[in-house]
Amino acid sequence: MDRVNAALRRVPPGLIYMGATLWAGWMFWRGVAGRLGPEPVEVLEHAYGDLALKLLVLGLAVTPLRRFVGLNLMTFRRAIGVTTFFLVLAHLAVWAVLDVQSLDRVWADIVKRPYVTVGMAAFVLLLPLALTSNSWSVRRLGPAWRQLHKLVYPAAILAALHFLWLVKGFQLEPILWLVAILALLATRLRMKPRVAADSPAPAKDSIQSWG
């Protein structure tokens, strides 16, 4: 695992931004060129949303992977998080502009359709996280930054519910994503150091592993 970690240290996190942007652009171009099948809007909307969910889960897996497997993806965590948000934004844009096509209907859907409401709530929770994902905000907010970024936990649950609520019939995939997210969150319950309220703050190392 050390060798894997050493190799990973040589990979620049910028590759994640670049890869995601190129992929998203390529998918859009395929849609424009008529290469996404009979219903390109649905394919594009689902492709962006699907990758966003997967990256969200990957982001939540960074800390447990380091703790339980010894795999260190910490250097990529910010890139994973920001890329997740970028894809959520792309998913939302395709839905609003290409699919629903009118502000009236967008608003009506947010208010009336529970799976849209839940998806929008997840987006709203992720918004401040994206805006404070720069180093300046991390320094400036100090310990509050860590608290703020725990919003990703409810956002992830809402994102999985958004998926689960939109499918028809009994479908396994959204259930498995929800279970994965809940399992990843459960690892954090056990990771909280059991210290009395009046004891000194835990060592810096253990704070970092809360992530």
């Binding site: 009979p38 390109p40 629903v100 939109l166 009994f170």
Partner: protein
């Protein structure tokens, strides 16, 4: 006796596959010329059938998987040769028939129909088939029958969706007898003059153009004439979302999405949504529901 219903569009409007794109240009030219002298004037707007590829590669057939491209990838494994259909219930001639024997000699014709899915997308399909009424006349509907129930084949070995239990299979559907006897209601055995592909419901499927697509049950193996309203699959799965009637109705939303507009398949990434028409643009069926509150009987 077929041809009780007069199509807006004739055989000439069904474009041979391949000429489809050219026809678009011709139509565009006619449009520029003011549409004067078009042989068959459309109802609201001229219907242009979707391409063979659209119709046969974007399907809901949950027995073969929930993805829109699952049916085209998986349905080929279904063997439709030697297909048999059981006709039972309140009929004069019950029995299990070879399909060819059951429907042989019935007059088939081309029907260019709008097809509106409950998921708010739509197509226009040039079906080949015969009126269900003709088949029901042949088997002899007995006094007391008020509904027709249909059942789709269940072949787990070739149907991954059945193995995963996406719905309570076999898929079942039903119509009130007057709906089933309506001249718009057909059994389709072809598209674009070719045999209907497996993913579209080979060898024989129902087509009820004023109802959401899931009512038009595919790959039928049983037809039963019954007295009471039969159970229907989506209604069993979620009664709040899917009613027995499931008439296309822009004023009654699905609980999870609006039904006021639809996306016409084949328009590309930037296609505008279209207004959904009451009864999917077939107002001649309105009489079937006179006096019924369609928000209650959705």
């Amino acid at each position: 006796m077929a041809r009780r219903w007069t199509n807006d569009l004739t055989h000439d409007d069904v474009t041979p596959e391949g000429l489809w794109l050219n026809r678009r240009h011709i139509l565009a030219g006619l449009g520029a010329a003011g549409l004067a002298g078009l042989p068959a004037a459309g109802r609201a707007q001229p219907l242009e059938p979707n391409s063979w590829d659209d119709i046969t590669s974007y399907n809901n057939f949950y027995e073969f998987g929930t993805g829109k491209d699952d049916p085209v990838r998986n349905a080929g494994a279904m063997d439709t040769s030697g297909w048999q259909v059981t006709v039972d219930g309140l009929v004069d001639n019950p029995g299990t028939y070879d399909l060819a024997e059951l429907i042989g000699g019935l007059e088939t014709e081309e029907r260019l129909y709008r097809f509106r899915c409950v998921e708010a997308w739509s197509m226009v399909v040039p079906w080949n088939g015969f009126e269900l009424a003709d088949l029901l006349d042949r088997v002899g509907v007995q006094e007391g029958a008020r509904y027709v129930a249909f059942e789709t084949a269940v072949i787990p070995e070739v149907m991954p969706g059945v193995r995963r239990g996406v719905l309570d299979f076999p898929y079942v559907e039903g119509l009130r007898l007057d709906e089933a006897m309506h001249p718009l209601t057909i059994m389709a055995t072809g598209i674009y003059g070719r045999d209907i592909p497996n993913q579209n419901g080979a060898p024989m499927r129902l087509v009820v153009p004023w109802k959401y697509g899931f009512k038009s049950i595919k790959s039928i193996v049983r037809i039963s004439l019954v007295e009471d309203q039969p159970p229907t699959s989506w209604n069993k799965a979620n009664a709040r979302e899917y009613g027995f009637y499931s008439n296309v109705n822009p004023n009654v939303d699905h609980p999870r999405w609006s039904q006021a507009t639809e996306r016409r398949i084949g328009g590309g990434l930037f296609a505008q949504r279209q207004e959904t028409l009451m009864f999917n643009g077939y107002p001649e069926v309105a009489g079937l529901y006179e006096g019924m509150d369609l928000t209650e009987f959705f």
